[in-house]
Symmetry: C3
Subunit: 478 residues, 3 copies
């Protein structure tokens, strides 16, 4: 059947194209609204600028007007959720990646039009009425959760220790048609303060002076109410939900002082997903189908673990490990155009000098500390210092960077503004210098051909290296 062979050949081309298209990392279809103010003279490793305490947790945000966040077009927020704490449902104008630094819990993502597939068993509901709702996801330390712009999510800590999350909102992403560079959270419930405070009072004041307008104030609302139901008439809400006005008024949560993370007394009694172990086991068993082709938005995975050592993509026994999460592993990332990297550097190990080819990298320090140097196009050092646990440092696209752990292990997660972010290492097995003929190096650096070969071949490792490396550097034997 020769035509069959041809058919299959064509098919594999066709599928290849699909994969290839995604794998380039250089493709055209990733796009960003905003080109950064990246005229950066100096970067800083930054701690959060704002702290807002809630009934059952803490929201810490980095001021998005910092130069390095304006350059990268992102906003960063860290949340601490106490056991039995519920982060109220909200959506944002920017897609985001959330990394679970610590703890475990459940999250619900509200996809319009997707079915309510979780049902209470008979008798579980009060008064014999059964509840049903959309899928609830378990999460644990080391997970990355992807959340598209405009999609609402709630989150609950059902564990025994605090949940700590770090989220990067990609404000410059094209999915955000709304606003220059301001992340905005729209809460469906509660009466929270704004998560991101950005010298806000001033700018609003200035705007009012400039436009000569007073802001319009809706009915029944003066800071005592900040969710999206607040701006609507209670009678309309009552009609919309077919409930009496008293219940409708509760949607507006007026004068609720609990903040955006509220305490659930006695714990949340809901239809829970199977245990995490069981869920992951099932995922592995449908492994061969996890190729991104058969998933719809309603069943699409939004979570993947990159914290476990067993998931490392680069592993050098003496130096450390790196796990990457891109749109091949988690297809929804193709739609939100972000990816992530989780790294561990052992003491006195180094991640070789490299540049981010097609993305900004927003690094969050999880544990320990490292010495980091970042260099711009003119050879100027724009960062040369320590980066510590709990700090954020942005490495702009194309800037060269080198990291070296200091006295202890260094662990980090990097959020990258491309769904297939690529690095180009300068040293080691996959380096740019190794890709060039030794004669080119010799002439470029005015060194002997032997020295050029040393520079090309002495380091055999990929990306992560250690002084204590036992691998032979004698490339001639290779």
């Amino acid at each position: 059947m020769p035509s069959m062979v041809k058919t299959n050949a064509l098919l594999s081309f066709s599928l290849f194209l699909v994969l290839f298209h995604g794998s380039l990392g250089l493709t055209a279809d990733r796009s960003r609204n905003h080109q950064g103010q990246c005229q950066l003279d100096r970067l800083n490793a930054l701690k959060p600028d704002n702290r807002v305490r809630s009934e059952a947790g803490l929201t810490e945000s980095w001021d998005p007007s910092h130069d390095q966040f304006q350059c990268a077009g992102v906003a960063v927020v860290r949340r601490t959720i106490e056991p039995n704490g519920l982060l109220l449902p909200s959506y944002s104008n920017a897609p985001q990646l959330i990394y679970i630094v610590q703890g475990r819990g459940v999250a619900g993502t509200l996809m319009p039009g997707c079915p309510e597939t979780f049902q209470e068993s008979q008798g579980q509901g009060s008064r014999g009425l059964q509840d049903q709702h959309q899928k609830v996801h378990r999460f644990r330390e080391g997970d990355v959760i992807a959340l598209p712009a405009g999609v609402a999510q709630w989150c609950y800590n059902d564990g025994n220790e605090r949940v700590i999350t770090v989220a990067v909102l990609d404000v410059a992403n094209n999915a955000n048609q709304l606003d220059d560079m301001s992340p905005r959270n729209f809460y469906l419930a509660g009466n929270p303060q704004e998560d991101f405070q950005q010298e806000q009072g001033q700018s609003r004041q200035r705007r009012e002076q400039r436009t000569g307008r007073q802001p319009f104030r809706g009915h029944d609302q003066q800071q005592q109410c900040s969710n999206i139901f607040c701006g609507m008439e209670t009678s309309l809400l009552a009609e919309a939900f077919k409930v009496d006005e008293q219940v409708a008024r509760r949607l507006q949560n007026e004068s609720d002082r609990r903040g955006n993370i509220v305490k659930v007394k006695g714990g949340l009694q809901i239809v829970m997903p199977p245990s995490l172990r069981q869920e992951e086991h099932e995922q592995e068993h449908r492994g061969e189908h996890r190729n991104g082709l058969e998933e719809t938005m309603c069943t699409m995975r939004i979570r993947e673990n990159i914290g476990d050592a067993s998931r490392a993509d680069v592993f050098t026994p003496e130096a450390g490990r790196i796990s990457t999460l891109n749109s091949h592993k988690l297809p929804i990332l193709r739609h939100i155009q972000l990816s992530a990297e989780r790294g561990v550097l052992y003491n006195e190990a180094m991640m070789v000098p490299h540049w981010n080819l097609n993305a900004h990298s927003i690094i969050y320090g999880i544990r320990g500390q490292a010495h980091v140097q970042v260099v711009d196009h003119s050879g100027r050092t724009v960062f040369d210092g320590e980066m510590r646990e709990g700090q954020v440092l942005t490495v702009p696209q194309n800037f060269a960077v080198v990291k070296r752990s200091d006295q202890q292990n260094f662990e980090w997660v990097s959020f990258k503004t491309n769904d297939n972010a690529m690095i180009s290492p300068l040293a080691g097995r996959t380096s740019a210098l190794r890709a060039m003929p030794a004669e080119v190096l010799a002439n470029a650096f005015r060194i002997s051909v032997e020295d050029a070969r040393r520079i090309k071949f002495e380091r055999q490792e990929t990306t992560l290296i250690s002084r204590r490396s036992t691998r032979s550097g004698n490339w001639a034997e290779a």
Copy 2:
């Protein structure tokens, strides 16, 4: 033949991917140039700001520098074409969607490189010479016409009543590489005034002061001539068209005072397409092939009706109907990244509170009036008022909105800045609140679980509701 099965399975994956890719509405490949100045304190339902009368019609435009149009990155224009009126051929730097509010006529879209498939029959041409030209499209009330950036179009009213069209030009669309936010129409003929007036005299003056430059004035041109032939030497035109200079000069339409809509005495004698009924009948018969795969730019449909009640996607007998037009129904929309929604609300009916997940919505009132409320991320009401026939209101992405008809039916068309715009309803069968466990609602809103279930399940309808609804709200029976 097991491999055959596999082949087909792979194929269906492959096709699914294509469909799925499009259906997400969250995909990454829609992108916009400009992120709005969406720091809006107040929205307004706006009437046109400019009126320009022509020989056979009227052009009314909304000033694109209004805050809400700057936020959405669009410009809006309404045209009235008298019977026998011809809108001169022009192209624009922005893709656009045109809605036919009233009337019927024909339009020609000039696609470079596409064949002239319409030919005069023998003897029809004067002096025995046959004319031939590209396809001419019929249109009628309720049609949406899609027009890519840079593609020229003319339009003629061959009916007995006025044609009224409303067009939204998506200036922030990436297809417009040209200009910050200004829509520009390039006329191939005539001597029209600019369609969009944007405190223009002033800004030009200011620019000249700033740059210290006088604008360069070409030969034979001082406002008496404004089509694209005006700026070229007559002798070059004569050579280009191989005609004498006298004819070439007519291309420049100097001192033509008819404006952009001119009267055709005796009516246009051209090769007309078959009647609309016949054309649509043919479309339905090639229905199964209308999947977007086999269409080239030359044969691609540019028109689809969403005015007919029979095309409703959401229909609630007591409340009204909604028809949507996205890139699944009209594949060219994938290329211009816009979609449309046509709605009818019966008297005292409501479109439930919702937010636009991935698009701005530019609403044009076709008939009647409604009470509309729009709420921003901080719960502030940025619009709370009546919206009437002939007015335009922009609802920014992610802002919550509720519409309720007032004393009479309300009809509208919404233009959306995403080819698969999605809404996320807050009440009713597909709502975000219904997607959450009742226990989450109870804790979020500090209400009983029974009230939470009421909020989730009382409203059984989808999107459109009426007080007079006969449907049972007793969800427990569901």
Copy 3:
């Protein structure tokens, strides 16, 4: 086997979609960061503004802050490389197209993760050690080379005459997440000056005054060192490359005064690709597979010739020829969203009036001179003058343009900001006027139907015309 037939039919649809998707030239997935400041009153044919001499060549750049480059979002640079000159490896924040105006040589593109496929034969290396490196490409006059953002490249003149290249960097391309509008070259070696000088001293000074900050100065660096190794500690480099500090310091090329093009004494002794003729011969023999489906980034073609007369897409014996290079011919262009056009106009021939439908066009004059007119949307002539060899003129998207050679042949290359740039001619066989019914023209231009037919049909040629044309203009015979 009916299902087989269906399979193949589906397949061909699927493939068609792929091709079709690309062929539109109107598709949505091309996007740009920046919308130009295209409020241009006047364009100019520009010579380079800056000249930087190196040991073995010359770098001339156009100031990217010129209005027309700000509008197009590009930067232009011309390099002259002497025989035995080596352009040091560098990468840029913008994708670029490079046209080889003169000469021949070899280039190496450093793709991270791609294998070192070129190996020295035994005994060729000194001390018996064999070098290996990534593929090296030959190039010659008339070639276009495509280079993605963030990918490093070096280039060497192994011929007997100077190599002259002109490159357009698409700074507004979405692949550049880095910077407003500034092209930045990151050198891996040497100590070159910045390629683009943009009233730089002033703007930096202004920025410092504004921010009240002093730029941060790294260690061992004060203009004597400008490659990306300069900003890193020598001890870290020594550790990264496992070499002693003395060798590591050579990577920083401190006080190297050779500039970015250095002289290779005795010529570069590397593993060279087969002769150009052989390489092109091989390309032709794998012709049927060159459909873009089976190429990965590592084996993707980055080069194509458009200088040879035999490659013309439009050829009019009396008037000249045009060759276009788009993403169908060179698939990598799909990823960098640029295309090119090479044209020759014989003496007193004309490229008919037309507009660029979906791209800006940046024209570089290769030989001779032409009279060019460019017209904006209001009919204003924004350019009316001569364009000469070595000059650059930008024609913004949608502006009408006409070119006519003057006293001698005119040769040019145009770089276009869309991977399938389309033009819409106003005269000739494929013109917009021809696409309209003669009756529409007659009414639009107030001419007789006969004159309208003359305007439509007298010119039979496509795009290029000559007074001396022997083709009959008697359209009635057609």
